[in-house]
């Protein structure tokens, strides 16, 4: 009964079920980052529902203000997220939670 010279293949990477608060927050931030385009798309489509019964409704100038305002807000949100998302956290325990 000689012990094997090479250790058997390592067990498959385990997925951690419970994370500490920091890692948990990171993952939720990633969820938020993935959902950003959805949020943006919904808000961009919103003006389609503006009332257009009279010629003075849904003015182009209001559209400009709304869309550029929305744009700026999206940029600020993306900026905040890009600061909060730790890029190197991919190597965090439990692996990169890509699913």
């Amino acid at each position: 009964m000689t012990p094997p010279a090479i250790p058997p293949t390592p067990p498959p990477r385990r997925r951690t079920e419970f994370l500490d608060r920091g890692s948990y927050r990171q993952r939720r931030l990633r969820d938020a980052a993935r959902l950003m385009p959805v949020l943006g798309a919904v808000l961009m489509a919103l003006p389609l529902m503006w009332p257009r019964d009279r010629p003075d409704q849904s003015l182009t100038s209001s559209g400009i203000i709304y869309l550029f305002g929305l744009w700026a807000i999206l940029v600020v949100l993306a900026f905040v997220l890009s600061r909060l998302l730790r890029y190197g956290a991919a190597a965090a325990p439990g692996g990169d939670a890509e699913r």
Partner: protein
């Protein structure tokens, strides 16, 4: 009044400046100082090639015609970039780990390094991009024409053509110089990237300057500008919902799929981290680029004479206001937009053409098996240079043939929807492992065809490519194939119509065919690589021929063959090579041997691919192979589980069959038992009764009386013994036996048993090995002796050999002491083996044995009670029995 020559001089100076910038960047890069070239600012600015002359000049014209709809072109990419974490990051990571050179490379590489797919995507990209290049040439020459007209010259078509040719040639020279300088694995072009970053600043600055001038210099501030907007023809914003959403989708998709965008977004990306900055900085850039578009359009419409081309308001407004410097700046902005787009698009296309069409054809044209040496590099560089020239030439020819004008202006979105046909294959390939090559080919082909039919060919205008009749009644009278009303559904906006149908049919075919066909091993390998890029990319290492290779092969083989088998295989091979340890040299013999071994497990094709990749693969790392090996191991584990299960079922079935046989035999025996027991009892009883009858009648002499009484006595003893045995067996079977545990040596127990069995040492030779018998037992010694006596006397009774011999062997095994009793007789026929421990089982007729056949049955019951066992040992050259004592009962003598 600005002279046209001044414009030319300024333009040439600007171009010289760009050359200098590019040269400087290349020099810095050559010195290894690339850190700042990789900065997020440069990266973000290089993304701005999305904003071409079409958007620099054309956005204002678009806004003048359709209000806010032009914004969709910028909103789509904004959505993509703010969602960078989900998709763009993955693309960039894949691009880096797979060393992708273009979007055609992405598709081809993902789907098993398929040459055909690479060609298909390249063709699609050329068809989609060439008109776009022509559009850029048109923009620049039109703007030049404005200046020429301003300085009193009137430009005819030949002047436009000549200037377009000069521009095209200049661009070709620039791209040739900076696009084919190096052929490094990552296809990064620092000179070009820095030059387009500079151009990005120029065009943003120019557009902002014109915008600020128009709002505060011409219109008189924000309030009056708003009033102007509210008073214009575009006062109310009434977007068509399908177009609004459709255009945002198209622009988002094009942002990802345009060859030039893929080039800057993925190929030229040297560091993923810059993405997090670009995620908000690039949307900011787009916001600023589109901020003043509506004011410029509205003011232009208000001030410029009716019929003025709104596409050129950015230049004509400053000129009209006498701001020549601003006009030149604006021209340079448009020039920058056009040139940066053309340079990168040409470069991306040329890479695709040379990598996917020219190089494979060249390699194929050579003798098969010819040694591919270093001269491939030269061929690739050459083919790339030719491709650059050819693509720019194609763009120029397209510009000449189409004759410019409105038809060309519409090409922007047509081009977007064309290249978008790669999207399903790209997204599917990156997120879905099941996506395969046939699915991608089907999807892209169908999407390409639908796009060409519903949008590209009609874009040339009625009666240009397709006749009026085809538009109205469909080809060959097939009305459901009308280009703008596929399947008879009319009334959809042509762009939305083309987008929806091409995407639906494309994605549908892609998914359906992928589901129905099988990928080849390399595709599956690549699929795992792409979809799980974050798990595999961390330790991607290059392959090198070294001891590590054998080790990695062992790792792989272990996953497929199992640890011990693989190790045995490798150890044997190493030993055959005269090496110790587990790692043999990687010789061809060993490889073919290993391949055969592997093919036994995973099939020949996979094994071949795996070995081939291991030995040659510069592209496939060990982790890739392990990905496949893992999968194979899973399959094998599953099938071995199935195998184990069926083996277990077989064993159970056999056990049941045996039990059944035994039950049948036992039931027969039960009947036999009753007759046996009556027989066993009756035989002595009969003789006792007969002799006691004779004695009662008293007519016998003294000698006979004594003899008869002796017989009666013997028979009574026999009956008593039989009844004792039966009682003993009954007690043992009921489990109520009282054990008398004591300590003693095995040798003493055997001595006593041999003695008590009363066999004649002269007749039966007993062979023992006293050295092994020094075991101290802690058990019921009397009972154990009883078992041994039984076995020894059985051997003496039944052994039919001429010189009977009984061998008693003692063996220590894990957790038990085993005592074997083997004689040299005839043994027990196999059909009786299962019966020897049953009651009253005797092989021959009773009488000879002189017992009732209860000995072995009792022995077994005793051994069970003692926690041990007694079994028949077949194949010992005679009858053999093994008595096993549990370890608790035995301890080696001190």
């Amino acid at each position: 009044m600005i002279s046209f020559n001044l414009l030319i001089a300024v333009s040439l100076a600007y171009v010289a400046f760009l050359f200098a910038v590019a040269f400087a960047a290349e020099r810095r890069a050559a010195q290894g100082k690339t850190a700042w070239l990789r900065s997020s600012a440069i990266y973000t600015l290089s993304l701005s090639i999305y904003c071409t002359a079409w958007t620099f000049y054309g956005a204002v014209g678009y806004a003048a015609r359709s209000g806010l709809e032009y914004l969709t072109i910028y909103l789509g990419p904004t959505l993509v970039m703010i969602g960078w974490w989900g998709l763009v990051r993955k693309l960039v990571r894949i691009g880096r780990t797979q060393r992708l050179t273009s979007i055609a490379d992405l598709i081809s590489s993902r789907f098993g390094k398929s040459t055909g797919l690479g060609v298909l995507v390249t063709a699609l990209a050329i068809v989609g991009t060439t008109p776009y290049i022509a559009l850029q040439l048109q923009s620049v020459t039109q703007a030049m024409g404005v200046f020429a007209a301003n300085s009193g010259e009137v430009w005819g078509p030949s002047d436009l053509n000549r200037s377009a040719m000069w521009v095209a040639m200049g661009l070709a020279v620039f791209t040739l110089i900076f696009g084919t300088r190096n052929l490094d694995a990552h296809e990064r072009h620092h000179g070009i990237v820095l030059a387009i970053a500079v151009e990005a600043v120029v065009k943003l600055f120019a557009l902002l300057a014109v915008g600020i001038f128009v709002v505060w210099g011409v219109a008189g501030g924000l309030g009056p500008t708003r009033a102007l907007i509210d008073a214009s023809a575009q006062a109310q914003w009434a977007p068509m919902p399908s177009r609004w959403i459709g255009l945002i989708f198209v622009s988002a998709a094009a942002f990802l799929c345009l060859p030039r965008m893929f080039q800057v977004l993925v190929v030229e990306n040297a560091d993923e981290r810059v993405l997090s900055t670009a995620s908000w900085a690039f949307p900011t850039y787009l916001l600023l680029m589109s901020l003043f578009v509506v004011p410029i359009a509205v003011v232009g419409l208000d001030l410029m004479p009716a019929g003025a081309n709104p596409d050129l308001f950015v230049v004509t407004l400053p000129l009209r206001e006498g701001r020549d410097g601003l006009a030149i700046l604006s021209f340079l902005g448009g020039f920058s937009s056009a040139t940066s787009m053309v340079i990168v698009a040409t470069l991306a296309l040329a890479t695709m053409v040379s990598n996917h069409i020219v190089a494979p054809s060249w390699l194929n044209a050579r003798m098969p098996g010819a040694v591919v040496s270093g001269d491939v590099r030269r061929v690739v560089v050459m083919s790339r240079r030719i491709s650059i020239t050819a693509i720019l030439g194609l763009g120029y020819i397209y510009f000449r043939v189409s004759g410019g004008g409105e038809a060309l202006a519409a090409i922007g979105l047509v081009s977007f929807t064309g290249v978008m046909q790669v999207l399903p294959a790209m997204i599917g390939g990156v997120f879905w492992r099941g996506a395969n090559r046939w699915g991608a080919v089907a999807g892209i082909s169908i999407g390409f065809a639908v796009w060409a039919w519903t949008q590209f060919l009609p874009s040339f205008g009625v009666d240009a490519m397709l006749s009026q009749a085809v538009f109205e009644r469909g080809p060959f009278g097939l009305s459901w194939l009308r280009p703008h009303a596929l399947f008879g559904i009319e009334g959809i906006d042509p762009l939305v119509h083309a987008t929806v149908w091409s995407m639906m049919l494309n994605a549908g075919a892609f998914v359906l065919v992928s589901v129905l066909t099988f990928p080849n091993p390399l595709e599956r390998l690549q699929g795992a690589q792409f979809v799980n890029v974050y798990e595999y990319s961390s330790g991607a290492r290059a392959w090198s021929h070294s001891a590590a290779q054998a080790e990695d092969m062992l790792v792989m083989a272990q996953r497929i063959l199992g640890s011990s088998e693989a190790q045995a295989l490798f150890r044997a091979e190493a030993a055959a090579q005269g090496k110790s340890g587990l790692l043999p040299d990687v010789t061809p013999d060993f490889l073919s041997h290993l391949e055969r071994e592997l093919s036994g497990s995973v099939g020949a094709a996979t094994a071949h691919a795996m070995i081939a990749q291991l030995t040659e693969g510069a592209m496939v790392s060990v982790d890739d192979l392990i990905a496949v090996a893992d999968e194979a191991a899973q399959i094998m584990e599953y099938s071995s589980q199935l195998e184990a299960k069926s083996a277990e079922q077989e064993r159970t079935a056999r056990a049941l069959r045996e039990a059944n046989e035994k039950l049948t035999a036992v039931s027969i025996q039960k009947d036999a038992f009753l007759s046996q027991i009556s027989h066993e009892l009756r035989t002595p009883m009969t003789s006792i009764r007969s002799f006691s009858d004779i004695l009662r009648d008293g007519e016998v002499d003294d000698t006979a009386r004594r003899r008869f009484a002796g017989i009666i006595h013997d028979e009574t003893n026999r009956l008593t013994r039989l009844l004792d045995d039966l009682l003993d067996l009954g007690v043992l079977e009921s489990g109520q036996v009282q054990l008398n545990i004591g300590e003693g040596r095995l040798s003493d127990v055997l001595d006593r048993a041999v003695m008590a069995s009363g066999i004649d040492p002269a007749r039966v030779r007993i062979e023992r090995t006293p050295a092994h018998e020094g075991v101290t037992l802690r058990t019921d010694l009397e009972r154990l002796t009883q078992v041994f006596i039984n076995l020894i006397s059985n051997a003496a009774k039944y052994c039919a050999a001429e010189k009977p011999r009984l061998r008693i062997k003692v063996r220590q095994t894990q957790g038990a002491t085993e005592v074997d009793f083997c004689d040299n007789g005839a043994g027990i026929p196999p059909e009786f083996e299962s019966m020897v421990f049953e009651k009253f089982s005797r092989l021959e007729d009773q009488g000879k044995a002189g017992g009732a056949g209860l000995g072995l049955a009792i022995s077994r019951q005793i051994m069970t009670a003692l926690g041990g066992d007694i079994t028949y040992l077949p194949g010992q050259g005679g009858a053999g029995f093994r008595v096993s004592l549990p370890a608790a009962a035995a301890a080696p003598a001190p």
